[in-house]
């Protein structure tokens, strides 16, 4: 399980992947009007600003020191890179779902609309959508 070691380089890359994924999620939330994923529901333009700042900040932080390091000297190999990237996206997704569901708890309309999939998040938070899904099943 050497590919799962928590090393400084791996941690730095994971942080980059999380920051960039968080930014991308806010970008798509603002662009596709997915209010249920947005951290800036009332002011959509803040979503774009947040995305620009966190993505460029993540890249700046990571590349502020030399990163062309081979995997035999502490860098990441191909499979590690893949795992850290997927983990970064998953963590950012989870953080976004939790934060947006908490921040927008009073906004959603879980009882209205019959949208499926991501379209449901245009009218309700992720938590409300999941609740609606369970209610639908139990009926």
């Amino acid at each position: 399980m050497t590919w799962l070691r928590w090393e400084t380089f791996g941690a730095d890359y994971l942080l980059l992947a999380i920051m960039v994924s968080l930014g991308v999620l806010q970008l798509v939330a603002a662009w596709r009007r997915l209010g249920g994923l947005s951290l800036f529901l009332r002011k959509r333009y803040l979503g774009y600003i947040f995305a620009a700042v966190i993505i460029s900040g993540g890249y700046w932080l990571f590349f502020s020191e030399p990163r062309n390091i081979p995997d035999y000297a502490g860098g990441l190999g191909g499979s590690q890179l893949f795992i850290y990237t997927i983990a970064g996206i998953a963590i950012a997704g989870l953080l976004t779902i939790v934060a947006s569901s908490a921040l927008n708890a009073r906004w959603g309309h879980s009882s209205t609309g019959g949208e499926e999939g991501l379209d449901a998040l245009k009218r309700m938070t992720y938590l409300q959508a999941i609740k609606r899904g369970f209610r639908g099943k139990s009926r």
Partner: protein, 198 residues
């Protein structure tokens, strides 16, 4: 074959010989050539593509394209690994240690075909199947990354052409395999839609 190798090496030295003419461009290339800058951008373009589409059908087409890109990525890595068992072309900086301008670390795997190029082109081809604009953007990023690999002395141009051909061809194979295993991708997408992730 000798003429092809000669032409390849001549083209390599033409591109690699540009190192040192512009300090800022060299700096930019050392950023682009690495395994973190462009690959994360490629992944993030696909991540955006997952949410894109003017309606549910268009979004599903994009999401199927991402499945294809991911499968193509796996196939490309496997094909390059297999080819590395039989082909062992020396890296430019190993063959010509005194003349190559190396702006990257000394890679230890064989030069032909380029693994990074195969993966980048697999990503781009997969995205192209679902969304032409996203595909074009990924092809531009793949070409930039590939150029940087030659510029920085890590690969010959022929390694790049070989890698790109592998990336494109295996993604067509991935598309065929995904059609073969249907309805599995449809079930996965339906399951993800049910929990509001697709």
């Amino acid at each position: 074959m000798t003429w092809l190798i000669e032409l390849d090496e001549r083209l390599f030295f033409l591109i690699n010989g540009l190192v040192g003419r512009s300090a800022w461009f060299d700096q930019f290339m050392t950023l682009v050539v690495g395994e973190y800058f462009i690959p994360l951008l490629l992944a993030m373009v696909l991540f955006v593509l997952w949410f894109s589409g003017i309606n549910a059908q268009a979004r599903e087409r994009n999401q199927r394209a991402i499945f294809c890109a991911a499968t193509g990525l796996g196939f490309a890595a496997a094909v390059v690994k297999l080819m590395n068992l039989g082909l062992d072309r020396l890296r430019p900086f190993e063959a010509y240690p005194d003349t190559v301008n190396l702006l990257f670390y000394a890679c230890t795997d064989p030069s032909f075909p380029s693994n990074s190029t195969a993966i980048a082109f697999a990503f781009a081809t997969g995205a192209w199947f679902g969304n032409r604009k996203a595909g074009a953007l990924l092809f531009i990023l793949a070409i930039a990354w590939s150029f940087a690999r030659v510029y920085c002395g890590a690969h010959y141009p022929l390694d790049i052409i070989g890698g790109a051909a592998i990336g494109i061809l295996v993604t067509f194979a991935a598309l065929w395999v995904l059609r073969l295993v249907e309805p599995l991708p449809t079930w996965i997408l339906k399951g993800m839609r049910r929990i509001y992730l697709a």
